[in-house]
């Protein structure tokens, strides 16, 4: 479970609902996507997650048909759709900026796709009403898009796509223009719709909280390459490489040198003489481009510890045991459910620690503290370019 870049396919059909095989996209001199394979299961909620420029939107636009892959195939229900123009593909998109037609009212916007499909008028009316009820916007049928708020337009954009009963619903960062509260509400809404409709959703986002909150599986992308595919839980708890470890959630990376690998336990020392110990010799690569390896003495590595795995206590007796460090609080943030401390260890190692707010007293800035963590909280990654 360390280096599978492609997801397992359903064994009986051979091909999944949406199958992307060897797809590459080059714009002029820039490679947006370098040979990518991905299987999307029927009815799943799959998120493409990555920083801007990672190729996730390009991939989505190739599925929609707005971009043509330089190489490779995209199979939908076993049929290659690469040659089909966008209007012949049984997929619909919810766009980032909604793109409702400003000269049509809401009902006509939603009916647009059904009219193109030559659905009889009474059925169109029925389906438009149903989908308006589904997104809880029945009273807005006669309004013009400009009379709606961003969140309402978002629902209509969703309804306009869903009413066509697409094989795959593509969502291109549909919530990035909404404020936080509305975004969280829409996340729940979208999740509810997905459960109810059983449509395959492919959701593009750069917001990991959004991806974690909604997805069955998350595809982490960087630099046109899939870094890891897995459930949110899996990706968070078991990142395959340094990029994923740093991109998902918060992470403390501590540069260190391996000093011993006796008995399957690796010991590392940072420049500030912090000693870290972990019961595994796994060396994970910096990114998907690298290979996993085994730690050996003298390796320069990055030890990674999640902030919430840190324990913070007022400074006591100096023990010098592994997986402890003495530091000084330089900033304190009360975040409601947790308290976040920035703690400097030695001269320059800044470590983030998050402790539950309940049952922990707030430590003042400048307080001397003892940090400690469990050995299994330490994961080890190579440096970019090395390992």
């Amino acid at each position: 479970m360390t280096s599978t870049a492609t997801a397992e396919t359903t064994p009986d059909t051979g091909l999944d609902h949406l199958e992307i095989q060897g797809v590459k996209k080059v714009f002029g001199e820039n490679t947006a996507i370098a040979r990518l394979d991905l299987s999307v299961r029927r009815g799943e909620f799959l998120s493409l997650l990555g920083p801007s420029g990672c190729g996730k939107t390009t991939l989505l636009r190739m599925i929609a048909g707005f971009e043509h892959p330089t190489n490779g195939h995209i199979y939908l229900d076993g049929k290659d759709i690469v040659g089909l123009p966008p209007h012949r593909r049984p997929v619909n998109t919810v766009f980032q900026s909604y793109l409702l037609f400003p000269h049509m009212n809401i009902a006509d916007n939603i009916a647009y796709g059904l009219k193109q499909a030559k659905v009889p008028k009474p059925e169109i009316a029925q389906r438009v009403r149903d989908v308006l009820a589904l997104v809880q916007m029945e009273d807005f049928a006669g309004r013009k898009p400009e009379q709606l708020s961003g969140g309402q337009q978002q629902r209509i954009a969703l309804a306009r796509a869903l009413v066509n009963r697409p094989q795959v619903l593509l969502l291109d960062e549909p919530m990035s223009a909404l404020d936080r509260k509305l975004r969280e509400e829409m996340q729940l809404e979208l999740k509810r719709l997905h459960t109810k409709l059983d449509t395959t959703f492919v959701f593009v986002t750069h917001d990991q909280d959004e991806a974690l909150a909604m997805s069955d599986r998350i595809v982490v992308m960087y630099d046109g390459v899939i870094q890891q595919i897995g459930s949110g839980e899996d990706i968070y708890a078991n990142p395959h490489n340094g990029f994923v470890a740093g991109f998902i959630g918060k992470q403390n990376f501590i540069p260190a040198e391996v000093t011993s690998t006796d008995g399957g336990t690796a010991q590392m020392v940072s420049a500030n003489s912090t000693v870290m110990e972990t019961p595994s010799l796994d060396l994970r690569p910096a990114s998907a481009a690298g290979e996993a390896g085994t730690l050996s003495v003298g390796d320069r590595v990055r030890a990674a510890i999640r902030p919430e795995r840190m324990r913070v206590a007022p400074a006591g007796e100096e023990t010098g045991r592994p997986n402890t460090a003495r530091g000084k609080v330089i900033s304190t943030s009360f975040l409601g459910d947790v308290i976040q401390y920035m703690i400097v260890v030695g001269d320059n190692d800044e470590l983030l620690a998050r402790v539950p707010a309940a049952g922990n007293e707030l430590l003042a800035a400048d307080a001397e503290v003892d940090l400690s963590w469990d050995a299994d909280a330490v994961a080890v990654y190579g440096f970019e370019g090395g390992a």
């Binding site: 009212n105 008028k121 169109i124 049928a141 006669g142 509400e185």
Partner: protein
């Protein structure tokens, strides 16, 4: 949260602080509003006052051979006098040239502007726009004289068409209505292309993509999204072409000769040659009013068309809410 609750939302009532309050005259003249002075001064001095003078003169008369206008006695008599048989026939010929010219400009500009806004890469677009604009920046008279040379019976077009056997004798369209028609379409085409290009460009690639995504092909997308959204451009293009074209007299003078004259020439003759400002002004008023009537009828037809297409295309939801 207000979006999940769904009461019939009233648009927020205008509150007191947004209600416009009338400012004192001094601050309107010398305060921030004074910044609009150049605009309204321009409108007053170059439009309202001259127009008022034309209206006023159209009620006057020509007292003697050496005086152009007198206004000591006012009457409507110049109007029947202006509507001579030759004026009326020229008037309808003019209307025909302007309406046909506007339609031709629209038919040429629509595909061109679509191509320019949709198909041409942004880098090449400025070049294509420059090619549209450079002739437009050339002097109107010079451009029209160019057509006179081109269309003349011994010009190169005539010679060339004869040499390839398209014509038996010399080209015979200079000093006809056809020549005027060609000339006005050429002269006013950029005024149609520019607003159309802007409107189509503004409707945007993204909305076209949304339309494709919903299953509409290129033609459907053009008819249902691009064209309806470009309607303001179509309207302003038609106004920009039709109104000045209706009053044009340079093109007709250079290319029209006796058989291709336009109303503008008759008016200019009254002012410049016959020195009868009263009749000229009455003719000008007839032209202005009829132009407004045509524009009004055009708008009414447009609204009717839009209402009918909206009826045909909209989905009745049958529950009184749509």
């Amino acid at each position: 949260m207000s979006t999940t609750a769904r009461p019939k939302q009233q648009p927020p009532a205008e509150t007191r602080e947004t209600a416009p309050t009338k400012q004192p005259l001094a601050s309107r003249l010398f305060g921030a509003s004074a910044l609009s002075f150049p605009t309204w001064a321009y409108v007053v001095f170059f439009f309202i006052i001259p127009l008022a003078l034309v209206i006023f003169y159209s009620f006057g008369y020509k007292p003697d051979e050496f005086t152009a206008i007198a206004t000591d006695k006012l009457s409507f008599d110049r109007y029947p006098e202006a509507m001579s048989a030759s004026f009326v026939s020229t008037f309808f010929a003019t209307l025909r040239i302007s309406i046909l010219g506007t339609i031709l400009c629209l038919l040429i500009a629509l595909p061109f502007s679509y191509w320019l806004a949709v198909k041409v890469s942004p880098a090449r677009r400025s070049l294509a726009l420059a090619l549209v604009m450079v002739p437009f920046w050339t002097n109107f008279l010079v451009r029209t004289l160019g057509w006179q040379i081109m269309l003349s019976p011994d010009g190169f077009l005539s010679n060339w068409m004869q040499s390839i056997g398209m014509l038996d004798g010399p080209l015979d369209i200079l000093y006809t209505r056809t020549a005027v028609q060609i000339g006005v379409v050429y002269n006013y085409l950029p005024l149609m292309i520019l607003p159309l290009f802007v409107a189509i460009d503004a409707s945007g690639k993204r909305l076209r993509e949304a339309s494709y995504d919903l299953g509409a092909g290129k033609v459907k997308t053009f008819m249902r999204v691009t064209l309806p959204m470009a309607m303001p451009g179509v309207v302003s293009g038609c106004l920009l072409v039709f109104i000045p074209l209706n009053g044009d007299y340079v093109t007709a003078t250079v290319l029209g000769g006796a058989s291709g004259s336009m109303v503008g020439q008759l008016i200019a003759n009254q002012f410049n040659t016959a020195q009868n400002w009263a009749v000229g002004a009455a003719m000008a008023m007839i032209l202005i009013i009829s132009t407004l009537v045509v524009v009004g009828v055009g708008f009414a037809l447009l609204k009717l068309g839009q209402t009918i297409t909206a009826r045909l295309n909209s989905v009745p939801l049958q529950d009184g809410r749509a």
